[in-house]
Amino acid sequence: MHDAQTQPTVYHKNSLGGSDIKVEVRDVSVSYGEKQALFNVSLDIPDKSVTAFIGPSGCGKSTFLRCMNRMNDTIDGARVSGSLKIDGAEVNDRAVDPVVLRASVGMVFQKPNPFPKSIYDNVAYGPRIHGLASGRDELDAIVEQSLRKAGLWAEVSDRLQDPGTGLSGGQQQRLVIARAIAVNPEVILMDEPCSALDPIATAKIEDLIDELRENYCIIIVTHSMQQAARVSQMTAFFHMGSLIEVGPTEEIFTNPLESRTQDYITGRFG
């Protein structure tokens, strides 16, 4: 058996940094068919902060992220076990409707994926299907507010009816963030949101993440150690499907308790 399974997760002393716990994860395992992708992950994620998941490719961090809004349900043969509570409510409960869950746990994907519709319709889609706006004016307000929060309003306010796919990559990603914000989620999941963007667009997204932190619990998967260091308050290091170490970002980067974390951060593998 692989040692990742047996080794307990290493917690830093003040891992919560004093914030409220938003997500409480206990013994979550995921397998796709015969293959187990995630082994007994237990973790607390604080509210109103940015938590970064780092680790080499295939370490299970994206899989874990997808547990939070039950996106693994959409994959055939995926099985999730363990307990994952958001604000004390069990996510993996059969009674929980993933549709309702996903309205409060927004997600931003690796590649910008705006709908091939107008900018306005992209942002308005979520509020429309959830019935969040009772009139045209209210919907307009939600769209404007979301685009403002995503820092895109100034750039697109005069062409809301243009197709969202016509924007640049960085703008598209911010549009997608606006779309996620529009349904008023509590948690925003970001799966490598900057990997398809150039450095300038990346910087903008990072600034945006920093601003959004004030209102949302943000969980970000990233391959870039610098990005994790720049935007996150908490960092969790995954390896071979296991959570190796979790703690305040500064401590993980300056004083990791695990040698594997040290090796990964210093670029000796991964």
């Binding site: 809004n69 996106m71 959409t74 055939d76 549709v99 309702v100 869950l101 996903r102 309205a103 927004g106 997600m107 931003v108 994907f109 590649k111 994926n113 705006p114 709908f115 091939p116 889609y125 979520g126 299907i129 959830h130 197709p163 796919t165 997608v176 779309r179 996620a180 529009a182 349904v183």
Partner: protein, 580 residues
Amino acid sequence: MTDSPRTFPVREDVERRLAKRYRAELRFRTAGLTAIGIAVAILCILIGSIASEGVPAFTAKELVLRVELDADRVDPEGDGSVASLRRGSYNRVLQDALREAFPGVTARNDLRTLFGLYTPLNATRLMDAVLDDPALVGNSYVFTMPLADDLDLYLKGRLVEDRTLPTAGRLTASTDGDIVSLRSTTADFTALAREIEQSMAAEARTLELRVEQVRLALDQVPAADAPRLQAEADRHAAAAVNLRQLARAPDGFLPLTGDVPSVIVESGGQAFRLTQLAVDGKSARGEVVLGSGLVENADDWTLYVVDTPESRRRVSDQLIIWTRSLVEREMIQTGFNTYLFANADSREPELAGIKGALYGSILTMIITMFLSVPIGVFTAVYLEEYAPKNRVTDFIEVNINNLAAVPSIVFGLLGLAVFINFFGLPRSAPLVGGLVLSLMTLPTVIIATRAALKAVPPSIRQAALGVGASKTQAVFHHVLPLAAPGILTGSIIGLAQALGETAPLLMIGMVAFIADAPSLGLAGFTEPATVMPVQIFLWSDGAERAFEARTAAAILILLALMIGFNAVAIYLRRRFERRW
């Protein structure tokens, strides 16, 4: 820095390989271009041959007659009621009009031939005209009807080989009983006489060769067959001797039999059919077909030759002469062949049209479209987006793919067994045709739709699910609209295929001869009908030569429909295509 342009140093073996690579590329491009060239050429030949065959069928030679709708002819009861008008003898009206046009034709046989200018079915059309407007009774009325199919072909130059020879002399004609003697001041008949002589000699030679062959064969056949062969040889030999005898023209005249070209002399509304041609080329004998038979020194006369012998064509010299006379008198006009579009099928080619088949096709396609497209699309959506991937769905998928490759006639058999025999639906009905074609089209639609759904990037589904859309919302708000162009294209191609399908419809009785077009309403779905490709199939089998052109014309119309269908498909695809 040097003045000469810098070249990259290339190793010799690399250079050789490069040259080989370029040669390979050139070969491939040439092969591709050749293939395209051949394909285009074959397509052009195909379309060209169909078009050259079919285009003449789009025009019709029509006989314009002023008919007298006497009350005692068309209104036997005299009360002007519909029942009475229906019992009128409209064919007699048409016959009277033709007799008036050719007052010289009186003999029973000749009259029967004369009435062959049109088909009696036109009497029904005249009746319909009168029923439409009873005020016509007692008046004269200009009635237009299509010329008999063979004469139509004759006038379009597609039935016989003919020519008009130049004449220089003045023509004089005199009658002696039934025989008319013609004389020209110059030897205008000489060239013709030589030709006839030669053709008679050639015919005799053919017969003699035949005799020789039979005699040679005599030794090898069983004794029982010998007398029959001997008789045949003797008959041919006698015919050859007779021909040679005639060709020598003992009385100075060559006979014009039904086996040599026909010669017709026309002058000032008169027409003579020559039976003998003087060897000196100055005079001829014949019979009067039109006119009195007296001509005095006319310099305006025509020597018209029909090279196809009378025995080898379907129109007699008499009919040709009358037809030419009608053309001369402008009683025959060339118009757009409205009969081809306004009529359903008919035994008479000149009245046969595609309306019935077109309506049948439309009704059948309506059924096919409203069944196969929704069922196919939703089947595909379920299989692609909802169904779990297991053995059952795999089995279903394999079977759908196989169904697309099943010969269409099998669907026809199924339709016959299930829809007609089991459910008792009417035979030959567009309803059943549409059901059968739906079965055939379903796999195409399902496969095309699945391919279109697969082509929608998964990121769109994830995006929709990510903002909290349900699976159904994700599919119907985002995936289906994006797949729509592909679904439309696939469906229209499937429907176009169904539109051109013949075999399965043969099985359910849509191959019958149906002289009435189905109504374009709800009732039409259960009325007997046929469809375009079946109509083409039926016409291609028609005995009359005129059906050949109509077959090609119907193919052209069907091709136009197909091109229209595909144009719509392309337009819709362009219109709805969105990029992401």
